[in-house]
């Protein structure tokens, strides 16, 4: 990590020059650091560094979509606070950061996806899904928002065949919630179990070991069990 840290320091200095190649190198280094953070004892340090360095490098590389993505994603992960637990800049500041990036990169599916999750705006999620139809996190974000609004049928349609959900942080979780919403306690239980045991180690979006999907899956599991128990009692 020290080697990566030192390298990124050198690259950041280079990025101050702002050539496309320099910007790409900084982006590669930070992307790699964020991907590896999930295996660290305290990933917050790396997330915080990626947050700060991508913000700084972004000033010299204003057209670098990759740096902007790393900035919003690391902000979403806490920006250096305990991953998935606290937002140091606060929710309003996070919304501001993602909205600004979405304005600057209106066709970036991954940036729009982060902004959709943060703003809970289904229109933004639809734009993200349309920008890159094969980008699964965008569809997951859209389904999640639709589900929050009570429209589990639409959410289910968006997730369609469910392929690629195990490569996202929370795709299987949304599917579990869909099952729960439509009264399929058994399906919800099975899907919640897949969240807890069946996600791929390498996710489409680096999540620095974000525990939120797992905690929410446990909650879904509990609800599904309770519902199944209730059903069992009322059955003849």
């Amino acid at each position: 990590m020290a080697a990566i840290g030192a390298l990124i320091g050198v690259l950041l200095a280079a990025a101050a020059g702002g050539t496309n190649q320099d910007c790409q190198r900084v982006e590669r280094g930070l992307a790699r650091a964020l991907e590896m953070a999930q295996f660290e004892k305290e990933p917050e340090e790396t997330v915080g560094k990626v947050f700060a360095d991508s913000r700084n490098a972004g000033q010299s590389c204003p057209d670098a979509e990759g740096l902007a993505y790393l900035y919003v994603r690391s902000a979403e992960l806490g920006g250096g606070a305990l991953v998935g637990r606290l937002l140091p800049a606060g929710a309003a500041e996070l919304r501001k950061i993602t909205a600004e990036a979405a304005r600057q990169f209106p066709s970036s599916a991954r940036i729009l996806t982060v902004h959709a999750r943060v703003s809970r705006d289904d229109a933004v999620a639809r734009r993200a899904a349309a920008a890159q139809p094969g980008y699964v996190p965008a569809r997951v974000a859209l389904a999640d928002i639709l589900l929050d609004r009570g429209d589990w049928r639409a959410a289910e349609r968006v997730l369609a065949d469910g392929t690629g959900l195990d490569g996202t942080s929370d795709g299987l979780l949304v599917l579990a919630r869909v099952a729960l919403a439509k009264g399929d306690a058994r399906g919800a239980l099975a899907m919640a179990k897949r969240v807890l045991t069946g996600r791929k180690p390498e996710l489409v979006e680096p999540d620095a070991g974000d525990p939120r999907p797992l905690l929410r899956a446990r909650a879904v599991e509990k609800q599904a069990r309770a519902r199944r128990g209730t059903n069992g009692r009322v059955r003849p």
């Binding site: 990566i4 295996f39 660290e40 305290e42 917050e44 920006g79 606290l86 045991t197």
Partner: protein, 232 residues
């Protein structure tokens, strides 16, 4: 004969720019002090990946174990001791401990095994092949250069276990790899998941002055406690 110094830790005395509880280590209960950051000030332990938890640094009376280059299979980056020499033989990265070269990556690599354990405990199992690839990549920079020495151990260059009586605990006093990379530069400590984080330059001073050494008593106060000069 001079009295042996003891350390008193107040983990929740102030807040850093992230709003996290941080505090100070007082030598002989003050006024000489050093910055420290413990675990999150939450009432209950927080479930963490890899089968671990993030928790408050528990209040108590501890004794420092010897200074060590701590290694553990619990975290992939902490398998190889800080500063160990690295080399690659037939696409397998090896590290040197006591004159012996040990496989880090590859099918029988120790880091490969740590990745497998970590991913299994995280319930995101990976294949041995993927684990080995991760284990190898860890030691390379973006330009494909192998690091000469490992300086990414999560426990920093040196660490001291906080023993309760004669028994080691899961808590250590240590620096972090990113803080080590900052050298003597100005840095802000970040919350740990339960250990006590200190700054590398403070570590060096505390070692030099004999504060951080085997058998030193360390009293960790509650997060709600505040140091007062009259408290001595």
């Amino acid at each position: 004969m001079s009295k042996r110094p003891f350390l008193v830790v107040y983990p929740g005395e102030s807040r850093n720019s992230f709003g996290q509880a941080v505090g100070h280590i007082y030598v002989d209960d003050g006024p000489e002090r050093f910055d420290v950051a413990g675990g999150p000030a939450t009432a209950r332990p927080i479930a963490d990946i890899g089968g671990h938890t993030a928790t408050r640094t528990p209040a108590g009376r501890y004794v420092l174990d010897h200074a060590e280059r701590h290694t553990t299979l619990g975290w992939p980056k902490s398998v190889v001791p800080w500063g160990a020499r690295l080399r690659e033989v037939h696409e397998v990265v090896q590290y040197e401990v006591g004159g012996r070269w040990i496989d880090a990556s590859g099918p029988s690599g120790t880091v490969t095994r740590a990745y497998l354990i970590f991913s299994a405990k995280s319930r995101q199992p990976m294949s041995p092949l993927v684990a080995s690839r991760h284990a190898r990549q860890m030691f390379y920079d973006d330009d494909g250069n192998l690091a000469a020495r490992w300086e990414g151990n999560d426990f920093g260059k040196w660490s001291w276990n906080l023993k309760l009586g004669r028994h080691r605990t899961v808590f250590f006093i240590h620096t972090t790899p990113l803080d080590e990379a900052m050298g003597s530069g100005d840095l802000e400590l970040r919350q740990s998941h339960g250990c006590l984080h200190i700054k590398p330059k403070d570590r060096d001073i505390m070692v030099l002055k004999g504060y951080l050494r085997e058998s030193t008593t360390v009293i960790v106060k509650r997060y709600e406690d505040r140091w007062q000069p009259s408290a001595r």
